[in-house]
Amino acid sequence: MIQHKTLIIGYGSPIRGDDAIGPLAADALAAGPLPAGVNVISRHILTAELVEDILGADRVIFLDATVDGEPGEVRVRSLAPDASAMSTMAHFLDPRELLAWSQTLYQHEPEAYLVSAAGAFFEYSNYTLTPAAAAALEPMIERVRELIATN
């Protein structure tokens, strides 16, 4: 059986309510037992140097909050590199753009997924998740574990 090198990147602002669910899920995963070859990173935003981390992985799982969907709804979608998904606020990147950096500069194209949870409240100076988002945390982690278990 091939052992995947999996990189999990949870990202979101810790002071914007439900936006924090990505890094919180990543922190929870990092705290628990993980199979060999799985690395976890928590970030406020996606930035360029993460490309170097992606180079060491053949599977990348992004964890993020979304404004789409019913609050608490967890979705999994596969991601492909997309150079047109550039953020105009260029200090941070879209995950598809980050994958395109890896593809364009290093010809490295890992399998990639976005596991998202719909949030309800994203205002500044809020340090807790809404009940709906908090309830989505465990299902989100479970979906990640399922992806990791897939070879």
Binding site: I15, R16, H44, I45, E49, V51, A85, S87, T104, L105
Partner: protein, 475 residues
């Protein structure tokens, strides 16, 4: 008929902003304004919080430059404690600040500005982006990623966490540096210095190609403000405030940072959420000044490290006499500062005291007002707090680097619009130059969150009745 061009959002900057150009009857630019369109109210929502939370709270101002806020905030807390932090703690904080400057300047130069510099302002906007740079010069793009990674790794080695580090604390730092960590950082520096020198050498060859932009990108007279060492040299962490006028005469010198309010007044305008700081003795809006890499190099007698001093001498040769006035040369100044930052980090790490275990002064609050000032990548950053007897925040004033530059940025876009924009024949390249002059300042309007999706740029020219008479799209 009077018309208005709106550029929204301004791209390749940090945060949300809009530029409007007001045109006269003949299509000439009558007014130009830079609008900050986001409001977040950090100063207000910090009220009532314990002062010890301020470094962590204000670090959330931005996902890119949390280190700068952590440092200025902790300096304000040091002041509240009335302590002088241990010398080793100061050196460690300095290293963290220099690592932050390295990674931030790398992002600005390699990823935000290089598409214009490498591909040209008038090139196809569909490919005038970082992917265009990757295709044209992949080695340069990789250098940018690596240099940024080196800066971030140093922060992580020191603080254990890349974003929002809690290692810096009121009174010093939480943990002493270990020999192992020192060696790990020292190992990264030679590669960083090579990249910095290589990029600087490359950019020097590019500068002569931009004579036109150099002469129109924010050359109108302003003063320059920055910290300097007691000897008047380049300083990023502490020291004293210096202000030079547009002719290079020192008008304020060795001003203690706690006296910043004697120098800096703050005005507001109804078209922007960003404050308009000005040099108080000259009044508003005449008291326009610039901060950041250009100001720091204009104000410094020397850098104090070998390669950076050579580069500083070359920087001064960009103009025949006086301070370097063109904001285009912010790019040049950033590269000089990266060289300095790497050289200085090595010097500090080789200091025999750097492994000293005494890194934190402990005290309770001993005064009700604290001021912390440091140099963030984009310029002078000021944190000012007042607390009550219980140590709860009653008042906050933050003056960020981008705010200091607000008047100058408005002045600069007017100058560039005058030089390049023809309202009767709108071309994308004209408007890109208006955006590009803003990018010279690398403004940080603080996004603090993220969006999943694409935000296209729409540029519209409207007449006085609000009818769209011309439209350009990008992205």
């Amino acid at each position: 008929m009077s018309r208005t061009i709106t550029i929204e959002p301004v791209t390749r900057i940090e945060g949300h902003a809009r530029i409007t150009l007001q045109l006269g009857d003949q299509g000439e630019v009558e007014d130009a304004r830079f609008h900050l369109t986001q409001f977040r109210g950090f100063e207000k929502f910090c009220e009532g919080r314990p002062y010890r939370e301020m470094p962590a709270l204000t670090a959330r101002t931005c996902g890119i430059c949390p280190v700068s806020h952590v440092l200025a905030s902790n300096k304000a807390c040091d002041h509240l404690l009335s302590v002088t932090i241990p010398p080793t703690a100061e050196k460690l904080r300095r290293i963290m600040n220099l690592a932050q400057i390295t990674q931030s300047h790398a992002l600005s130069f390699f990823h935000l500005s290089s598409p214009d510099l490498l591909l040209g302002w008038d090139s196809d906007p569909a490919t005038r982006n970082i992917f265009g740079v990757m295709r044209q010069d992949p080695a340069l793009a990789k250098d940018g990623i690596r240099l940024r990674q080196i800066g971030q790794m140093i922060i992580e080695i020191l603080a254990g966490k890349k974003i929002h580090p809690t290692w810096v604390v009121p009174g010093g730092v939480a943990e002493a540096l270990t020999q192992e960590k020192r060696e790990a950082i020292l190992k990264l520096l030679p590669e960083g210095l090579e990249i910095a020198k290589r990029t600087y050498g490359f950019f020097k060859t590019l500068v002569p190609k931009f004579k036109d932009e150099t002469s129109h990108f924010g050359t109108r007279p302003t003063m320059f403000m920055s910290l300097v060492t007691p000897k008047g040299n380049l300083e990023h962490y502490d020291g004293f405030l210096r202000i030079k006028d547009a002719q290079g005469r020192i008008v304020e010198d060795m001003v203690p940072t706690v006296d910043y309010q004697r120098l800096v007044g703050e005005a507001v305008e109804d078209f922007s959420y960003m404050k308009f700081p000005y040099y108080k003795p000259m009044g508003y809006p005449k008291g326009v000044y610039r901060v950041g890499p250009l100001a720091r190099l204009n104000n410094a007698e020397a850098c104090g490290t070998p390669y950076a001093d050579v580069a500083l001498a070359e920087f001064h040769m960009l103009q025949e006499y006086g301070p370097i006035t063109s904001s285009f040369h912010y790019h040049y100044a950033r590269l000089v500062e990266i060289i300095f930052a790497i050289e200085m980090m090595e010097r500090l790490l080789k200091d025999p005291d750097i492994l000293d275990h005494r890194v934190r002064a402990r005290a309770r609050s001993n005064r009700d007002e604290g001021i912390g000032v440091s140099e963030a990548p984009r310029g002078t950053l000021m944190h000012h707090y007042r607390i009550d007897d219980d140590g709860l925040i009653t008042w906050v004033n933050l003056i960020i680097a981008t705010g200091h530059n607000n008047l100058a940025m408005n002045q600069a876009i007017r100058q560039v619009a005058d030089a390049y924009v023809d309202g009767n024949h709108l071309q994308e390249g004209m408007l890109n130059r208006v955006e590009a002059v803003i990018r010279c300042y690398d403004p940080c309007l603080s996004c603090a969150s993220h969006a999943f999706g694409q935000m296209p740029l729409l540029i519209e020219l409207k007449d006085a009745a609000g009818q769209v008479v011309d439209r350009l799209t990008r992205g």
